[in-house]
């Protein structure tokens, strides 16, 4: 039993109240809590007020908008994502990514918004209090050192949401609510700095993800030790549109190797405008491997994680090419 330190919890039922509560000093969003609450037992989050989004019913909905876009409320659970027919059929890479998270219990509790905004993780920070007690505070703990990468001036903790690369590949748009609601492509919400890894200001929160009406084809892959539970040691998603006998507008995105998803533009250029031969796919995998430089802050070793990225991209591209040649549906 790990007693938590006392915190206050508020559950507003109107968006304006949520915005006001989140603007206060020390406030943090509570979505499913599947990562936040265990983190509190280890005294990792520094917040003292939790603002729950559970009172905002609209955030739970998954619905098609008038222009045909699919709008997924940030409070939809990962289990909702996995079983929703529109997502399974229209955006299967997202369902695959949601299915790869945690375990059935965690997917029932964890939300899509929570997975997208998931705090970055590091082997030198996501540890119990005693473990950190005599360790110099790192960038993310208010100090001036990175134990994983001493030469770095910023935090390199790992963005560990599995749905992130899938959403990037699917060209999702994030809908941020605040005093001035705004929408932006999902990859633009990540700062690249593990300490403040989201471009979401105090008083703002992620309310929904919007997916294009006619999404590209996409595939997702995850790499970890076990077949469940583990956070990704690397993950990847790819997408492209098949038009006029060639793949167009490819996206190759690798994540869980740093604080933000990484677009592999060299691979995208290579893949644009042709069918994908085995050689081309392997070459794209090599480019992806060269584009990532993980630090030793995950569970598995750096060299292995880098090599694995090649395999993830090759497999994901292979999935798409195979599916094109022999459609399942």
């Amino acid at each position: 039993m790990m007693p938590l330190r006392p915190l206050s919890l508020t559950t507003p039922s109107r968006p304006e109240e949520t915005v006001a509560a989140l603007a206060a000093e020390g406030a943090a969003v509570l979505a499913g809590g599947s990562d936040l609450i265990p983190g509190l037992a280890w005294e990792i989050p520094t917040c003292d007020t939790l603002v729950s989004l559970a009172g905002l019913d609209a955030l739970r909905r998954i619905e098609t908008e008038e222009d045909g876009r699919l709008r997924i409320g940030a409070m939809a659970t990962l289990a909702d994502i996995v079983r929703h027919p529109l997502i399974r059929v229209g955006y299967p890479a997202l369902a695959d990514a949601a299915q790869a998270v945690g375990s059935p219990e965690l997917r029932a509790q964890g939300t899509l918004g929570g997975n997208v905004c998931l705090g970055t993780r590091c082997r030198f920070r996501n540890q119990p209090p005693l473990w950190r007690e005599a360790l110099a505070p790192c960038w993310q703990s208010g100090g001036e050192v990175c134990h994983a990468a001493p030469a770095k001036e910023t935090c390199v903790a790992i963005l560990s949401g599995d749905t992130v690369p899938a959403l990037v590949a699917l060209r999702a748009e994030a809908e941020i609510w605040g005093r001035r609601p705004r929408r932006l492509p999902i990859e633009e919400i990540y700062t690249g700095d593990g300490t403040h890894h989201l471009h979401i200001a105090p008083g703002e929160f992620l309310a929904a993800l919007r997916l294009p009406a006619a999404p590209p084809r996409a595939a997702f892959r995850k790499w970890r030790t076990r077949a469940s539970i583990d956070f990704p040691e690397a993950n990847a998603a790819v997408s492209a549109v098949w038009r006029d006998g060639a793949w167009r507008e490819p996206v190759v995105v690798v994540s869980a190797v740093g604080p933000a998803p990484i677009r592999v533009q060299a691979a995208e250029s290579l893949l644009d405008g042709s069918a994908w031969s085995e050689e081309r796919i392997l070459a794209a995998g090599d480019l992806a491997r060269r584009a990532v430089h993980p630090y030793d802050n995950g569970q598995l070793n750096v060299a292995g994680r880098q090599i694995a990225v090649r395999g993830l991209v090759v497999r994901a591209l292979g999935d798409m090419e195979m599916e094109r040649r022999e459609p399942v549906l």
């Binding site: 039993m1 007693p3 473990w131 030790t225 292995g304 994680r305 694995a308 090649r310």
Partner: protein, 767 residues
């Protein structure tokens, strides 16, 4: 779908476990469930450094906090203690310096756990950090001394054994090969973390309700640590949620709970967190090993040299035994002409290592079986055939003077070969797929006790009440392996009564005869034999009473079910009635029996480690697929054969085999008690220390083989530990078969496979 479930326990005819209903309905009380009025909560303040001098300790702020009942600094114990008589090097709380990250140095009791934790934050300890010592042997280079009370340098113990002329054997061999391997350490990860409640009776007796595998040793060590006579201490074990060797000696939290309780006059409970368990550890030693063998023209094993270097952590624990065990059981499976063993154990600033399921034999078995596979590869032989020619036969003496009785090893080989389709399928599974074989052996109890004494290793007492109930009392601890059920089954079978009549009381030094504890797979054989003796004596009394009642010679008394009868006459009486006749004749019906193994054959130094009344044998074939693109090693199927002698409780035998196999799978695939360069555990929690989930566990096909052993109760041998050992090398060998990489360390995580495949590709390109 409608579930058909029995409505009450009585609807289940033959329970697999006598405690099963209590466990599945949540009524079983574990050490952390036991609650006493007025109970206080204890908490240990642990070191945030792997190695540091304690400069000053200021307890005032903690002592003055409301709700804080006691704050104690070290050493707490009045004399150093330790499980091995020759290594009494532990105290409850560190003083002077701390020698591993997480070592306890202060103990706090408070009204609530929250208050105790807050008080732990309020104490001020100043440390002077020292360089951590993380390596062993010559890699230590000018390392500071870990144990200042243990002579010069950090070598804890070096041992040497030689049987026959190994140098000549290797020199004259037709074929030789050498292999090296690093076996990573790992934790037991019992589902239940350690917990204890301590309180003092008004008459001065100290009572401990503790999750321990060894109440007798805890009583002894605690008496020494506190300077009390042994009879002033009573150790009881509530329902225990798994041990695997991790609860096999006295721990700081047990001493601290007793001291805190004395200090505040209330029962004190201390429950370790999962993190604490990783710091407390006493798990499998990391071992660096080297083996060299020489074979003659007929592929007979002429000579073997085996070296092991154990990373012991900061204290001795079972270390001397662990060290000897890394050289003890290699000869139980193979006939070896000459055998040499050199073992070393080194102190490092890490949580102390100790025994884990397979104690000290798991690591060398991994290397030995990998080595044999590579020898077979070099010689172009089928690895099973190579072994078949050199198996240590049943009823024989090994090169290191161990007496083997029954051996189902040959049957184990046959069984896994047949189940897996080895002959037809090996080498024909396709790209990235492979089969790997390994076999092993384990003890059914150590031949000698941990402290020398001529007393029985196990004692059992049977009492029959006027109600016809059979009460069995024995000091064993049921750690989840089904020990109490085995005693109930043996009592019912030997006395000829229904299982429902038998009640087993165990694991209480105040009321049960001594059994040394649940370690070294000794309980079924030793407590079982003690019980059978007690049962024979009881039956004798009952027969005598029946004979006297019916005025016939005792030889004419027969049994019909539970009833007693007279041969050839129409006389019969129910069990309870005969028991009452016997009580009238002899007084209250109580008999006892003890069991002491025969003395070991060997007379050399170190001969105390290895002998056992009977050895179990196991074999495993692993079927794997390695994904060359992402490095994932998928164990698709495991074929396991085990010789447990007579399986007394077949369902539990199967359960123990499955449990051991899955534990071995975790060790080879992912588990690692590993440390950062500063001595911090890499991840003292279940995200950092990964064990298999159900999705990682393949189908396991099991064959139970063997013969009743003359030394076992009704022929039974061990099953709790042996089946773990062959799994690890079988998987390693299967990986080599699948993708041609030689692995030299555990665990085989996907990143390591990718690196090995990458290296192999580069070597291939260079050629």
């Amino acid at each position: 779908m409608k579930l058909e479930a029995p409505s009450s326990p009585s609807a289940v005819a033959v329970p697999n476990r006598i405690e099963g209903w209590a466990k599945v309905t949540g009524q079983a009380l574990y050490a952390d469930d036991v609650a006493w009025p007025n109970m206080a909560y204890g908490y240990l303040v642990r070191s945030p450094h792997a190695h540091a001098r304690i400069v000053s300790v200021d307890l005032e702020a903690a002592r003055s906090m409301p709700g804080v009942l006691a704050v104690l600094a070290g050493p707490g114990s009045t004399a150093p203690y330790g499980i091995m008589p020759s290594n009494q090097d532990e105290h409850a709380l560190a003083t002077g310096k701390v020698t591993y990250f997480g070592e306890p140095l202060l103990a706090i009791a408070a009204e609530t756990l929250r208050t105790a934790r807050a008080a732990a934050r309020a104490v001020r300890v100043a440390y002077e950090p020292l360089a951590p010592v993380l390596k062993t042997g010559s890699q230590q280079k000018a390392a500071p001394q870990v144990r200042e009370d243990a002579g010069d340098g950090n070598l804890h113990k070096a041992v040497d054994l030689e049987f026959g002329d190994v140098a000549a054997g290797l020199r004259e061999a037709q074929f030789t090969r050498t292999d090296e391997f690093f076996f990573q350490g790992n934790n037991h990860l019992a589902l239940e973390p350690h917990a204890v409640t301590a309180f003092w009776q008004p008459d001065g007796q100290l009572v401990l309700e503790s999750s321990t595998q060894v109440p007798h040793y805890v009583q002894r060590s605690l008496a020494r640590a506190l300077g009390l006579p042994e009879h002033q201490i009573r150790v009881m074990v509530p329902t225990l949620g798994g041990g695997f060797g991790g609860k096999s000696e006295l721990f700081p939290h047990e001493v601290a709970a007793a001291l805190l309780s004395r200090s505040c006059g209330r029962p004190v409970r201390i429950t370790l967190s999962r993190e604490d368990v990783f710091y407390t550890h006493r798990g499998r030693h990391p071992v660096e090993m080297k083996v060299a063998t020489g074979f003659d023209r007929q592929h007979r094993l002429q000579a073997m040299s085996f070296e092991s270097r154990l990373d012991g952590g900061a204290y001795s624990s079972y270390g001397i035994a662990s060290t000897y065990y890394t050289g003890a059981l290699q000869p139980t499976t193979y006939q070896i002409g000459a055998y040499r063993f050199h073992g070393e154990r080194w102190f490092t600033t890490k949580p102390p290592c100790g025994p884990k399921r397979g104690h000290g034999t798991t690591q060398p078995r991994a290397l030995l079986e990998v080595h044999m596979d590579r020898v077979a590869r070099d010689l172009g032989l089928d690895p099973i055939e190579l072994r078949r020619e050199i198996l240590q036969p049943p009823f024989s003496v090994t090169v290191n003077q161990l007496d083997i009785t029954t051996s189902g090893l040959a049957e184990c080989l046959d069984a896994v070969e047949r189940m897996s389709g080895w002959k037809e399928r090996r080498g024909r599974l396709g790209k990235g797929r492979g089969l790997g074989f390994a076999c092993s052996s384990y003890l059914s109890g150590a031949g000698l006790p941990i402290y020398w004494n001529p007393l029985p290793h196990s004692g059992a007492r049977i009492a029959i009440g006027r109600d016809g109930g059979v009460q069995v009392a024995c000091g064993i601890t049921d750690i989840g392996q089904g020990a109490n059920t085995v005693l109930a089954i043996l009592a019912a079978r030997s006395l000829g009564v229904a299982l429902g009549r038998v009640r087993v009381t165990s694991a209480d030094t105040g009321t049960t005869p001594v059994d040394l504890g649940s370690y070294s797979s000794r309980v079924t054989l030793m407590a079982g034999n003690a019980l059978l003796t007690a049962a024979e004596r009881m039956l004798d009394l009952l027969r005598q009473a029946a004979a006297r009642h019916w005025q016939v010679p005792a030889q004419e008394i027969a049994r019909d079910g539970e009833d007693f009868a007279v041969l050839g006459r129409d006389e019969r009486a129910a069990w309870t009635e005969v028991a009452r006749w016997a009580e009238a004749d002899f007084g209250p019906l109580v008999t006892a029996g003890g069991y002491t193994p025969a003395p070991p054959r060997g007379r050399h130094k170190g001969s105390g480690v290895g002998p056992s009344p009977a050895y179990s044998f196991s074999a495993c074939i692993a079927e794997v697929e390695v994904d060359e693109l992402d490095g994932r090693l998928q164990v698709q199927r495991l074929y396991v054969a085990h010789d447990p002698g007579t399986p007394l409780n077949p369902q539990s035998v199967e359960g123990q085999i499955r449990g051991g196999v899955v534990m071995g799978l975790g060790e080879v695939l992912m588990e690692a008690q590993a440390f950062n360069p500063d001595g911090r555990h890499r991840g003292p929690h279940l995200l950092g220390y990964r064990i298999p989930t159900m999705l990682d566990v393949p189908e396991i096909e099991i064959a139970v083989v063997g013969q009743p052993d003359p030394n076992g109760p009704l022929g039974a041998k061990e099953v709790g530990q042996g089946p773990l050992n062959p799994v690890i090398p079988a998987v390693l060998n299967a990986v080599q078969d699948a993708v041609g990489i030689e692995l030299h360390e555990t665990p085989v995580t996907p990143d390591r496979i990718l690196r090995a495949l990458d290296a192999k590709r580069r070597r291939g390109n260079a050629r």
